[in-house]
Symmetry: C2
Subunit: 404 residues, 2 copies
């Protein structure tokens, strides 16, 4: 029997405890022995529940108990998660975490410490919820030169954008609905401003290249400026708008960004709707693969943690290589990246299109009925070029990157 | 440096040799040392090519060379692949294979031999070409009770059905086109009769349950009876027809079959077209995941073999648990499985619908213009029930299982 401790009895943590119970036979069979939750670290008590006796409030109980082989960190945030995870690894305990903020900020150091102490630090649940992507990237695509990873990595924003697209809702009402359903937090900033997606694409980029990625260097734009009017245009163009985290990999650098992008129906991510996530991986030999599934939710995410628990405990006494090294991968400036641009402009196309074409060159123009504006989709140009040109035009109401 | 031997220098085998060369730095970095192809076993010579000096015609050269750590089997078929793979494992060499016929027929025995000789027998490329699915099923979904696996597992038939669907082509002309493009073989029976899909769903079912599956017990129906007329009806129903391999898992048994099925637009496999494969996995905690990518083709399939080579050689001297045991999993009879049925019937709906409803109960009727027939979609019933009822009706021209 292996003893584990769960830190944080919130959504994911309680999901982990639930699956360890409900699927205990399968897990024991896969591992060769049962897994027992010895402690649950939480600030709260849970009187009258089955976990009542396992609750502890002091981390030292866990870290000092030699019977605890593994610690599962599902607290989220950096404090005190970072200190606790570090101390656990240093105490020779495996760690599995669902905490993308932790992995993106301290992954390099924690991977190194795990290696030094001959234990495993696993984080499948930090990206894509229950979708297996971290380990397949490392083991199943081991001989591939990964050329691109592009994903819909945040279920909350994908739900909001789907409601705006299919239901014609405003951003505000779609966000409220997501909050009512528990998909979005009271303070939705981390999701809607793209920060969550940014950390996830940073982790995937580091996994794909084997080098550290500083997520703060990745250009990140959220969805708060996307309006229901944008979706009316998108619909008439037979496109949709999705929040993408994307990384195109060249020798020694990544062109990475997070932004809403207008994509066409033939794009493999077009049909990834609601709270689902989809992660597209292009390899130089493999071509395009896609991983699709529940990107969030208690049990799917907890299921990924369970797989990490089995993997770590199966390799007790042995560090399984997974992750990246300390060499920092340069992220190229957003200025140098090229896109087409969907641009909404005040006025009437008949009067202003010539002026717009003088600025942007060849464009595709779209006019909707009863509007005091029109839109164009430009040819491809760099961000810098777009910015310079756009300055010459008055009345630009919206600019969304387009890939179709 | 690790020495390997490739058996069979056809499409996949030459792809493996090509990737080992083109991605050699990535592979050496992942493995910690380079991989060298010492021998290539083939009946042919390849004079004037870079592999000229590696060609051998006698398997004993490979099996008796203690420098060869691993054998890659890409010959296909059972003879002599089975004998060669068995002898290689018994000689303490790892084996990776892309040969689904071999894995479906002798997997149980070969997995056992690999374990006994402390080597690895890996077969990621046998299902889904380059799509990582075998290893994710085993490691990433380790703590899941898998409830269902349903996939489009054969690129050739999916290409043919896509051409019939989107291009209005007949089966014969779509098949000819697939043959001209090299997607289908001169003798297309293994693909179009569903045998290839049958072996693959058997392998996936064994992986998901951990028990041996006898593929010969799986009901298998191919696509040779599907006509362009079926697709006209499918289109008017906003559905498509796909060749599915499917396994629904209950305690101690699998409801498995291979057959063309009419599926609706909201089905995750609906948009899997052309030579692409898609594999849908439902877990009791995870919900639905889908793996999508190139199901065939030289380099994608070879890429999966490369990942197996790295995995096996990384674990030199150690058997990595993967596969199934000798306990045979019962496959339930097709008679007991339930579907809706799409049925085309000679005559005019106005005259015959009442008779049809008396036989099948509640149905959805579809009439196309200028036809001497009509179609209905029944409610769900077992195969046995359908067969018994259908006997009472004259003029049934077609019957396709429907899930929408």
């Amino acid at each position: 029997m292996k003893n584990v401790a769960v830190m944080g009895y919130g959504t994911i943590g309680s999901g982990v405890v639930e699956i360890l119970d409900r699927n205990k036979e399968i897990i024991a069979k896969k591992l060769g022995e049962p897994v027992f939750v010895k402690y649950i670290l939480d600030l709260r008590e849970f009187p009258g529940t089955p976990v009542e006796d396992k609750i502890v409030h002091d981390f030292s109980t866990i870290v000092n108990d030699p019977e605890v082989s593994m610690v599962i960190e599902t607290m989220g945030g950096l404090k005190p998660a970072y200190a606790f995870v570090k101390a656990s690894l240093e105490a020779g305990k495996h760690v599995a975490t669902s905490n993308k903020a932790l992995v993106a900020a301290y992954g390099t150091e924690l991977i190194k410490i795990a290696k030094e102490h001959n234990v495993n630090f696993l984080f499948e649940a930090s990206v894509g919820g229950g979708i297996p992507v971290i380990r397949p990237l490392y083991t199943c695509l081991a001989g591939e030169e990964i050329e691109e990873i592009t994903g819909i990595l945040n279920g909350t924003t994908n739900y909001i954008l789907t409601k705006m697209d299919k239901g014609g809702e405003t951003f505000e009402s779609a966000l409220r609905e997501a909050q009512d359903l528990g998909y979005a937090e009271r303070n939705p900033e981390a999701d809607v401003e793209g920060h969550d997606t940014c950390r996830k694409i940073a982790i995937l980029t580091a996994m794909a290249t084997g080098h550290e990625v500083n997520y703060e260097h990745i250009y990140t734009e959220g969805i708060t400026n996307i309006t229901e009017v944008d979706f009316v245009y998108a619909d008439s163009l037979r496109t949709s708008i999705k929040l993408l985290g994307s990384s195109r990999l060249e020798k020694g650098a990544a062109h990475a960004f997070v932004a809403p992008v207008m994509i066409g129906m033939e794009h493999p991510l077009y049909s990834v709707s609601d709270v689902y996530n989809g992660i597209l991986v292009k390899g130089n030999m493999l071509g395009t693969s896609m991983f699709y599934g529940s990107g969030a939710g208690k049990l799917p995410t907890a299921s990924a943690v369970i797989a990490d628990i089995i993997e770590a405990l199966k390799n007790d006494g042995q560090h399984v290589e997974l992750g990246w090294d300390e060499e920092n991968l340069p992220i190229t400036s957003m200025e140098t990246m090229s896109f087409r641009y969907f641009v909404r402009i005040k006025g009437i196309a008949a009067k202003r299109l010539k002026e717009v074409e003088e600025v942007f060159g060849n464009v595709e123009a779209i006019e909707l009925d009863h509007m005091d504006e029109f839109a164009v989709v430009t040819d491809s140009m760099t961000e810098k070029e777009y910015d310079n040109r756009a300055k010459q035009l008055s009345g630009i109401r919206q600019r969304i990157r387009a890939e179709f």
